[in-house]
Subunit: 307 residues, 2 copies
């Protein structure tokens, strides 16, 4: 034990007071053996106390906050994560995503994983139709995975999942939608290209029958996310990418309830009149098409060590 530690443990703790509250509570975490945990608790105390001092809650408001957090906790079960929803609607999930996935200028931007990647996507052949319930406007989803220097990435993995034409994922409608509907794990060809058949997804509300939904209602916010297709792309020697493609023209592109939209990820649904391409994709001509080029960052030293 150092002299400083001995003095800390002998000196009586000062009375709790508004002006010294952070110092007193931070000091209580002084012996935390895990230095990262100590840093997290220190910062948490600083910011939570600053918040309380800023708003000066009444005791009734503090009790309502306790009740709200309790309700959020009680809403959580194996298929519902209300604290993730709370993090989402406060922009915290996107902030954590942004901090952890700072991209080079040319790379495809990331956005949140979301709560619906709860089952592994089944491996499917290029060109397969992932719409098993045929609910929605048929379209082809195609693109190429490249490195940031423009070179194609053969054999890249492209994991795709999305809602149907009614705005629901398979896991939200067991017994209505077939299992593994609108999910697929594809391996890009020798040119890094991928293509598959699907439907244009619909916008949808995040689950809003719990306390987070009540918070949105009380703050005059809608619960909707604009139409999107989730994508995870991975290739050897590159940083994996978790992102969405957003459908141009969808409602709520300007007010995504979870702040996930990036303008660089918005793509149109075009109509293509080209018999050869239609034959290539095994669809009737003309056909609807969403194209999504994906650019991955090469692994840096830092990322290599982290992975």
């Amino acid at each position: 034990m150092t002299t400083e530690q001995a003095e800390q443990s002998i000196a009586p703790r000062a009375d709790f007071a508004e002006e010294s509250s952070v110092e007193i509570v931070v000091d209580s975490f002084a012996r935390t053996p895990d230095l990262r945990l100590k840093q997290l608790m220190t910062s948490l105390v600083e910011h939570v106390h600053a918040f309380v001092k800023d708003v000066e809650p009444t005791e009734e408001e503090w009790q309502r906050a306790v009740d709200f957090l309790t309700d959020v906790g009680h809403m959580c079960d194996d298929t519902r994560q209300e604290f993730v929803l709370l993090s989402d609607v406060l922009g915290v999930s996107m902030l954590v995503d942004a901090i952890n996935h700072r991209k080079s200028a040319g790379a495809t931007e990331s956005t949140v994983l979301g709560p619906f990647h709860m089952v592994d996507s089944p491996r499917r052949e290029l060109g397969a139709n992932i719409s098993l319930d045929h609910n929605g406007e048929p379209c082809v989803f195609a693109g190429q995975v490249r490195s940031s220097d423009g070179s194609p990435l053969p054999g890249a993995l492209v994991d795709v999942w999305q809602a149907n034409g009614d705005g629901y994922y398979d896991v939200q409608q067991p017994g209505v939608q077939p299992g593994l509907n609108l999910r697929g794990l594809f391996t890009a060809d020798a040119h890094g290209r991928f293509w598959l058949r699907t439907v244009v997804p619909r916008y949808y509300p995040i689950p809003d029958d719990g306390p987070v939904g009540k918070l949105l209602a009380a703050t005059d916010r809608h619960p909707n996310r604009p139409a999107h297709i989730h994508v995870i792309a991975e290739a050897d020697g590159h940083t994996p990418l978790t992102t969405h493609l957003f459908v141009e023209g969808s409602p709520y592109l300007d007010s995504d309830a979870v702040f996930g939209v990036r303008q660089s990820l918005v793509r149109p649904v075009t109509t293509v009149d080209d018999p050869l391409r239609a034959e290539e994709y095994n669809v009737a001509n003309p056909f609807r098409l969403i194209e999504f080029e994906i650019v991955l960052d090469p692994l840096t030293e830092r990322h290599s060590h982290a992975n």
Copy 2:
């Protein structure tokens, strides 16, 4: 709708980015009809985002935070409030108490209510013995309720509750302790004086078999509170006071897990050899005594309106 509002709703939302995250999320709460709720959400977003930017959590750390909060929520039921415990060990409960009960210089300081005032104390006659299980060292608890100008407050109400000599409240040991053990609501006499028979309470741990207990263990903090007697004092024309008396010499006076100790509230257990006073209190001579003078602030205009 004002021109400014129309522009807000027409202007496309900027892409989410680390540097503009607060502005974007705060703007989403712009239409909150309840202005206090809007202020709370705005400040919450500012401080939570500042915390995230300060510590830059990994996605795994963010997930662990979600899991921790979920565990805290699942620990809550009708008799256990784990979010209050979390608030307590982070000093937030004491901070809210301090903000809401700023006292004049001479008034008795307040401290947290705690979770054990869950049943109404039974009305008892002055001098009654509230120790129904006789577990602990017998003592007299006595004092006087005065206004800040020194004048006694006849008929003041003094609500007392405490743990027994093993450090447990009645509600923690149903079937072991008699119901309403160590609880009493007393009416002070014509001189503002109150007295009752009880036992010297023992220090005790806050419930530490849940996620908050795990947090304390991981940060090398003990879960104990020093020995104390809870008091709520009320008198006409005065601000009600919720406080504790802390027992001088108790372990953990310098490291209360919930930061409730104020040096001005520490009192000794003295031995009194005085046959007349022993007779007055209906105890054998000599006897043990804790004295606690209580000074209440007169209601101000502001308090009068609030009540």
